[in-house]
Symmetry: C2
Subunit: 346 residues, 2 copies
Amino acid sequence: MAHKKLTIRDIANMANVSHTTVSRVLNKDPRVKEETRQRVLEIVNKTGFKPDPRGRNLSLKRSKLIGMVVPDIRNPFYAELARGVEDKACQEGYSVIFSSTDFKPERGETYLPLLQEFGVDGIIFASCRLKEPLVEELIKARYPIVLVSRKLKSKDYNYVVFDNYRGAYVITKHLIDIGYSEIAIITGPPNVSTSFDRLKGYRQALKDHGIPIKSDYIIQGPFVKKLGYLATNKFLLQKKRPEAIFAASDYLAMGVIDAVEEHKLQIPKDLALVGFDDTEFASNRRIDLTTISQGEYEMGSIAVGILIERFKSQETNYIHNVVLEPKLIIRGSCGFNLAIKNNKKG
Amino acid sequence: MAHKKLTIRDIANMANVSHTTVSRVLNKDPRVKEETRQRVLEIVNKTGFKPDPRGRNLSLKRSKLIGMVVPDIRNPFYAELARGVEDKACQEGYSVIFSSTDFKPERGETYLPLLQEFGVDGIIFASCRLKEPLVEELIKARYPIVLVSRKLKSKDYNYVVFDNYRGAYVITKHLIDIGYSEIAIITGPPNVSTSFDRLKGYRQALKDHGIPIKSDYIIQGPFVKKLGYLATNKFLLQKKRPEAIFAASDYLAMGVIDAVEEHKLQIPKDLALVGFDDTEFASNRRIDLTTISQGEYEMGSIAVGILIERFKSQETNYIHNVVLEPKLIIRGSCGFNLAIKNNKKG
DNA sequence: CTGAAAGCGCTTACAG
DNA sequence: CTGAAAGCGCTTACAG
C-alpha cells in the first residue's frame, strides 16, 4: 500500500521547502531550522518515505556493497567465513554479494570483473591460487581488495589468513607425540597456499622428529570429499598401510571416513584420523574428529574491518595483514594411539 | 593501472561522437552506422571501459540485485538453497545479497526494509513464520517477493515449497512399515509452516496405522542442534523410551546422535533414527541417516525463475506456485528395525 | 544514422 | 537557515 514511488521532491512539495532541504534533513545536516526539520520529518514518517539508495550512491560514488568470492558456499568452512563477513558488514552498514567459483579458476576470473562492473565498493576474495593474474592486476591497480584464507605468492596487499604451516605442524606433531610415525597426508592442490603450507608443516614436523617422508604417504588433489575417499582407498591397499591419516580439511576427512567404513575398519583402533577446520561435522560425538580450529568467523569479520579501513583511509596503498594462530582440538579420532604404540612396543 | 574512472563521455570524445551514440553502441542499438560502431568499440576495448552500473540502473530504475533472507547460511540446508539461488541468478544476470536472520524475527524484520532501501529488484524470503506481518504487507503492496521453503498462513502469493506434510508422512510410515510403533518426534517451532506440517504428517501416519499419539513423544523447539540433544536426553530418561526418533531435520539429528553417543547407545540397535533434508552429514557412511530429500537446490533455482518471470510480466499480480515432492532416502540408521520387531514378537 | 536535451533520485558547493 | 543550480553516469524519446 505504502508504495508510491515517492521522491525527495514529493516530500519537498508537501513540506513547502526545496528538495535540497529535505536532503539535508535526511542527512542530519545541522544547519536546518528546528521547526523546518520537524515539519519535514513528520511528512517523511507519515508517508514512510525512504530515499532511493541508487540516487544517493550515484551522487556519492559508492554502492555500500561488498563483493565476496568463495569456492563454494556449501562448504561449511566458507559458510562460517561468509557469516563472519556478513555480520560485520551489516554492522557497518554494508551489504554483501556472494559468488561461488566452484574451484574453477575461470569462474573466479569471470566473477571478478562482474563484481566490479556491478559496482561493489570493494572485494573480499577467498579462493585465490598462488598465482592469480586478475587479482594481482587489481592489487596493482590499487583496487580495494582483501584476500582471506588463501594467499598469493607475491606480497604487499591486504590479507587475513590462518597460519596453515603451524596448524599442520602442530597437528602432525600431536600424532607423533602420542606415538604415531606412519602418518599419511591428504591435502589440496599444490597451487593453493593453504594446502601448500599444510603440506610444508607436515613435512617439517616429520623431519624435526627424525621420521622419513614417504611419497607414498602424500596425496594431493582438489579439496573435495571424493578425494578423501579415493586417497584413503589407495592408502588402505598399500602393502604398508599408514597408521594415521592427516586429512588437510574436515571435508576431506568426511571422505576418509566413508572409505574407512567401507573397509569395515575402526577409527582410531585400526587407523587414526585428524582433520583441519573444526567444522560442526568434526564436533559431532559420533565423528569426534581431532582437528585444528582456524577461527574462520573471526577471519571474515577482520577482513571486512580491513576493507572498510581501506575505504576510509585516503591512501590507496593502505596495507594491513593479520595471521591467525591455530588451536588444536583434541578428540577421540586419534585418542587411543598411545595405547597402540605401547602394544606394539610391548 | 587500467582504472581511470572513464565515463561514457570520455569514450565519446575519443571517438568523436556524442555520448548518446556510445550508449547506443553499448546497448547494441541497431541504428548505428557500422563504421561508427567499430570505431567506438575499438576505443572501448582498448581502454577497457566498463559502463558504471549505477548510472544505468538509476536510469532504468532497477538494480539487477536480488535480496535473499535465510535463517542462517551455515545451516547446510540453506547453504544448498542459496547455491541454487545464486547459480540461477547469475545465469540470468542478477547478483544476490544474502542476509541471515538467525531465526530472530526482529532481525528478519530489520532486513526486509533494509534490503528494499538498498534497492534490490525483488526478494526471496526463506524464513517466514506462519504470520509475518512485514512480509504480508509487502505481498499486499505487490512488491516482488517469493517465499521459499516456508509458507505463510495466508494465500495468493508466489512461493515454492516442499510438501512437508507428505515428507513427514512418508518417513513415519516407513518406520511403521519396518516394525516400529513407539515413535517420537523432535520438530521445529509451531509457528513455522515446515515444522507445523511435518508434525501433522507424523500424526496422520500414526493415526492411519492405528497407533496412539503420545504427547510425551512430541517435542518442539527451535531448529537447532541443541534441541535435538536436549530432547533426546529427555526421551531417554522416560520410563517408556521410544524405539525410534524422527528428527524433523538432519541438523536436529546431529544433536540426537550426540546424545545417543553420550548414553553409549547404538543406532539403530537400541534406537532407530531418521532425519529430514538429506544433507551431506546424513550421507556420511558413519552417520548413514535415513532421511527425506527436498531438492533444495532446485527449490532455490525455481524461486529465482519465478521472481524473474514476475519482473518481466507487467501484471503485478503474477502468481505462481510450486510444491516439490519428497524422496525417501533409506540408509542404515533404521535398517535393522524389522529384526528388532521380530525379536520382540518371537 | 546522429545529437542536444531531459530525466532517473539524490548530494553539495555556491549564493544569499 | 534556505534554495537554485550543477553534477553523479547513464538512457531514451524527440528532432533532424
